[in-house]
């Protein structure tokens, strides 16, 4: 687990990319992890069904915030319907190293919120689907 706290995770945690809010997002979603209180909100701007811009805000652990930050970097230019289908592995590939089961939901929170935004309804936990 100590290996998780790699430099680039700490960097995303302390310097989250795409942090903030969009002035007039086309879709937006927000959720929290009831088990730990971590929160993520994601705003998307769309252009013909394609994600043209993205911002997120949140509070929480390095794992949830860095995962969300890395996720926002990977979706710009993607079609919304593809975003809705992103598998949990996409997050795990982003973070690059093993996540213990107790922290899985920290890692998945950003993806859950992103899917909720894309689907227009509350998505389930990606690791449970």
């Amino acid at each position: 687990m100590d290996d998780f706290y790699k430099e680039y995770i700490l960097d995303h945690y302390r310097n989250p990319r795409n942090f903030g809010r969009l002035e007039s997002p086309d879709v937006t979603a927000q959720d929290n992890n009831p088990l730990c209180g971590d929160e993520i909100r994601i705003d998307l701007a769309l252009n013909d069904g394609v994600v043209s811009d993205v911002r997120f805000t949140g509070k929480g652990c390095a794992i949830s915030q860095a995962s969300a930050s890395m996720l926002t970097e990977s979706i710009k230019g993607k079609r919304l319907e593809d975003v809705a289908k992103l598998p949990p592995q996409a997050v795990l590939d982003n973070v690059g190293i093993g996540i213990s089961p107790t922290r899985m939901r920290c890692a998945m929170l950003g993806l859950k919120v992103l899917k909720s935004a894309a689907l227009g309804e509350i998505a389930g936990w990606p690791d449970e689907e």
Binding site: N32, P34, L35, C36, S100, P101, T102, R103
Partner: protein
């Protein structure tokens, strides 16, 4: 002591229960014929508790560290086992409760108070356990709904003659799948579709069914199903409510507190998802996990084997009871092993069941005596009390023989 022609599987089962291999204070073999009140526990279930408390005791869901994760997995894993055991659609449809009673109260408070109004009716049967009667009496009182009864006949069989009329205006039907006093198996295949056709939901008190026969909540199409772990090899203090997700989702929480919330401010609270919405405060973690072990144990035996075994013992018991008819033994209920599950009620001459139970106790035989939490049934039938023997996976024909012998002794003592 135990007859030698025992099936090796049964012999192994008996070996699994440490209490059955002890002697009473009078040096007698324990002949436990009160499993309908609470079952004995196999060593593996006791070991599951010891293991939890000695190796990974920790509070669940919010713990990051190793033993908390192991406890959470075991706890939620046990829920999944129960879900599979009764064939629920998903583990989230299983709510942990203390026992059947709490499960029924949960439905009565959370569904009942919010769905019933004057003019509606609640339909139960005349042979319900107090736990499946008193909550509905109180609910009827609070909501102004009427409480109606499916009658039972002199043999303790359900009389469905007027079922359709009784169902008019009925919003909730609550009945036990197996009667704890007479063993009667309810004709659910007739009642449930009729109830649904009339627009009522169906709550099954499965306290005596879940331990003794295969249960499939989806095949039965019940809306709620309640049972107690302690009657099915699990520890005391843990039971469950199965509910269809759509119903549970629409219900407000019952108990409030830690774990059942999603977000709390000083002013306002939003609630957690199923099943946790209904599980406030620290759960009975160890006993839930050990309930999972009990489910494994029963599943390995096979619930068909359990039913067949009990059927065989009951068949033998009914046969031997016949021999005592001339001494004044009166057996109540359907008196047919095909129509009953694990219990049989009786009286011997004018010996009061309490006296009978005391006499049998001196021979190491444990039976129950009294009203069995079915006072209104007893009153209707005109029995002040009955003696009750109930059989489970570890009981043998030798236990029946011991019972008969001790009954004969009681008859002699009372000069019958």
């Amino acid at each position: 002591m135990i007859a030698q022609r025992l099936d090796p599987k049964l012999e192994r089962v008996i070996d699994d229960f440490p209490i059955l291999n002890r002697k009473t204070s009078r040096g007698k073999r324990l002949v436990y014929l009160d499993s309908a009140a609470t079952s004995q526990k196999p060593q593996c279930v006791i070991d599951a508790l010891t293991e939890y408390y000695s190796e990974y005791n920790a509070n669940i869901h919010r713990g990051v560290y190793e033993i908390a994760a192991r406890a959470t997995d075991a706890f939620e894993g046990a829920r999944a086992k129960v879900a599979r055991f009764v064939n629920a659609g998903e583990p989230a449809e299983i709510i942990w409760t203390r026992n059947t009673t709490e499960a029924i109260n949960l439905v009565s408070y959370s569904w009942g108070l919010n769905n019933l109004k004057p003019g509606d009716a609640i339909l139960v049967t005349q042979l319900e356990h107090h736990s499946n009667l008193v909550p509905w009496q109180l609910l009827a009182e609070k909501t102004g709904a009427a409480l109606r009864f499916i009658p039972v006949d002199a043999h303790g069989l359900h009389d469905l003659t007027n079922l359709e009329r009784l169902l008019e205006g009925t919003k909730l039907v609550a009945l036990s799948q197996v009667s704890n006093t007479l063993g009667t198996i309810a004709p659910l295949e007739r009642i449930i579709p009729a109830a649904h056709a009339a627009g009522a939901i169906v709550v099954i008190d499965g306290a005596q069914a879940a331990p003794n026969m295969p249960v499939d909540v989806q095949a039965m199409d019940v809306d709620f199903f309640a049972a107690s772990g302690h009657k099915m090899c699990a520890p005391t203090g843990i039971g469950f409510l199965y509910g269809k997700r759509a119903l549970l989702d629409a219900m407000p929480p019952f108990l409030a507190g830690g774990d059942m919330i999603r977000r709390v401010s000083y002013e306002k609270t939003t609630f957690n998802e199923l099943p946790w919405k209904f599980e406030a405060g620290t759960s009975n973690i160890a006993d839930a996990i050990a309930f999972g072990t009990a489910i494994d144990y029963l599943s390995e035996l096979g619930m068909d084997w359990v039913r067949d075994h009990e059927h065989a013992v009951m068949t033998y018991a009914f046969k031997r009871f016949k021999e005592l008819q001339e001494r004044g033994l009166l057996v109540y209920g359907p008196n047919d092993p095909d129509l009953v599950a694990d219990v049989v009620s009786f009286n011997l001459g004018d010996i009061h069941p309490h006296d009978l139970a005391s006499i049998l106790d001196t021979d190491g035989i444990c039976i129950r005596a009294g009203h069995h939490c079915t006072m209104p049934l007893m009153e209707k039938m005109g029995w002040p009390a009955t003696a009750r023997a109930s059989f489970y996976i570890y009981n043998t024909e030798a236990d029946v023989d011991a019972l008969i012998e001790s009954l004969l002794k009681a008859a002699r003592l009372f000069k019958l």
